[in-house]
């Protein structure tokens, strides 16, 4: 049984179609990276899989069940790109991570010992246990991102979906959660992440899927970045030229990779 199956999905916002005829399969234990330029539709793809965006055409299955019938959302852990604008009402790291347990226990049961233990384990995994009672707003960007990962891990999911986890995050934090993700995968978890560039996550990735202008342009082993993308200080924030060749932008195909 695949973890995620997407068949000929098409997704549109306000009359504009963002994704056209996208198909994708994620097997248990896979670590799949969805890559692409800004505006290619890669974020839309995972948001559609997560049911945050309605599916226009096509089908999506989660753990073998059709998405609209799927109820076992505790098996899915979501790590959004950032914490969200603060409103002034404080929340501790512990409280944010604890909200990751709601999918497991439901809204009617109060928190129990198992929940507290899961929160502690998740925070230990991302090395933030010492900040459990601190307000989230006092953390750095990278520490906040680690909090969000801990929140997703607290629910003991089988699938982790991450949206650009390394964007704007310091190198130390990137190392820390690359390690956490590695442990998750070793324990049997499946990972689906959207990234602009891979950085310390590169060694984890089994498969890369490149989305370009709403379609899958390439799927296979992660390609080597070419040209100035390969430089260590490259932060990959620059416009891509509109005109493309063969639908694969700037990633130099090597002999090992079979273009799709």
């Amino acid at each position: 049984m695949s973890v995620v199956t997407v068949r000929h999905a098409a997704v549109g916002y306000e009359g504009r179609e963002i994704l056209h005829d996208v198909s994708l399969t994620v097997e248990p234990g896979d670590v799949v990276a969805i890559l692409g330029a800004n505006g290619s539709g890669k974020s839309t793809l995972i948001r559609t899989i997560l049911r945050l965006v309605p599916l226009g055409r096509g089908e999506i299955d989660l753990f073998g069940t059709a998405q609209r019938k799927f109820r076992d959302w505790a098996r899915v852990g979501y790590v959004p790109q950032r914490l969200g604008a603060g409103s002034g009402v404080p929340a501790t790291v512990g409280e944010v991570v604890a909200s990751g347990r709601l999918a497991r226990r439901g809204i009617f049961r109060p928190a129990g010992a198992a929940d507290k233990a899961a929160v502690r384990d998740a925070l230990t995994d991302v090395s933030l246990l010492d900040r459990v009672d601190d307000p989230v707003s006092t953390l750095s960007g990278g520490q906040q991102q680690r909090t969000l990962i801990a929140r997703a891990l607290a629910g003991k999911p089988d699938l982790l979906v991450l949206d650009e986890p390394t964007a704007g995050v310091d190198a130390g934090s990137q190392e820390a959660f690359a390690a956490a993700l590695g442990r998750f995968q070793l324990a049997g978890g499946t990972i689906l992440l959207v990234a602009h560039e891979l950085g310390p996550l590169r060694p984890l990735i089994d498969r890369a899927v490149v989305v370009h202008q709403g379609r899958i342009a390439f799927a296979g082993l992660p390609p080597e970045p070419a040209g100035h993308h390969a430089e260590p200080d490259h932060d990959h924030v620059h416009p891509h030229a509109v005109q493309q060749q063969a639908g694969i932008c700037e990633w130099a195909p090597t002999d090992r990779i079979a273009a799709n």
């Binding site: 959302w73 505790a74 899915v76 979501y78 002034g88 404080p90 809204i107 009672d133 130390g172």
Partner: protein
């Protein structure tokens, strides 16, 4: 002169205490979602409900609850779609609500805009035992709902998309919040009046978050501040012969100012005496420039 030997004062105190406890319990979620003024907006819509009630010779409070609930649900649906910007939708509600109330009342044969005054400013002293029973029941219901669903409501208010992916019944809970807002506004109508309702929902939260660090502690502190301000408001207004509703709001503001000033002072003192916290390793290594 001990005013609290009189039943009407005890009822006034009880009504104020219930509202003082329940309003911030709801308000904390509104502040977290940046909907601090929604209480005002729904209060103004409730005025149309009062107008309907007076026009049809039905209970104005009941009509207010119904109309306010419809208004609150409407606001929630608009917000969900993200079409109109939040503050524009609120403006439409505010002004439509008051105008609706005044026009309806003018159509009524035996009420004038003067009849609306007690709803705008509160009428705590003339609360009958039946009124108090209704306020108590509804207030307790609001408290139970806001406390029992706290983990889910926190999750939604903190990060709505994450809550959706967690499979939480986000829309149902948002509608619950809307109806709870309408109910709280209408019971608060008796104490501080529709013009000051948001104050009781929001000021205790604003005061609490000056000194607290987490959500649970903020909620508890806000409820405590609301309770004390409401109780003190009634007592002070009895002594000073001022209207209880407005006195309560002034006291809540005083607590806010005191806590803000106190928190600033405390932080200044602590900064001097504490070493800096662990910082992250620098991304760049600075080296002394060699002097030739």
């Amino acid at each position: 002169m001990d005013l609290f030997q009189y039943d009407f004062m005890m009822r006034a105190l009880l009504g104020a205490l219930i509202i003082g406890l329940a309003a911030p319990a709801l308000g904390i979620y509104l502040v977290q979602r940046r909907l601090s003024l929604i209480g005002d907006g729904i209060g103004h819509v409730a005025l149309t409900g009062v107008g309907v009630g007076l026009l049809l010779h039905q209970s104005p409070v009941l009509a207010a609850v119904v109309v306010a609930a419809i208004g609150a649900i409407g606001v929630e649906l608009i917000r969900e779609r993200g079409r109109t910007s939040g503050d524009l939708a609120l403006a439409l509600l505010f002004y439509g609500g008051i105008a609706g109330g005044v026009v309806l009342v003018s159509l009524s044969a035996d009420a004038s805009s003067n009849s609306l005054v007690q709803y705008l400013f509160g009428s705590l002293i003339t609360t009958s035992p039946q009124d108090i029973a209704v306020i108590a029941v509804l207030g307790v219901a609001v408290l139970i709902a806001m406390l029992a669903f706290r983990p889910a409501l926190f999750a939604i208010s903190n990060d709505e998309e994450y809550a959706k992916v967690s499979g939480l019944p986000v829309r149902a809970l948002n509608l619950l919040m809307a109806v709870t807002t309408a109910v709280t506004v209408t019971i608060a109508m008796r104490t501080v009046g529709l013009l000051l309702i948001s104050a009781l929902m929001v000021i205790p939260v604003a005061a609490a978050q000056q000194v607290t660090r987490g959500f649970r502690t903020t909620m508890a502190a806000a409820m405590g501040i609301g309770l004390c301000a409401a109780g003190a408001g009634v007592v002070v207004s009895a002594e000073a012969d001022t209207p209880p509703g407005a006195t309560t709001v002034i006291l809540a503001l005083a607590v806010f100012v005191a806590l803000t000033v106190g928190a600033v002072g405390w932080r200044m003192v602590r900064r001097r005496s504490q070493p800096p916290r662990d910082v992250e390793p620098p991304d760049v290594v600075l080296q002394e420039a060699e002097v030739r």
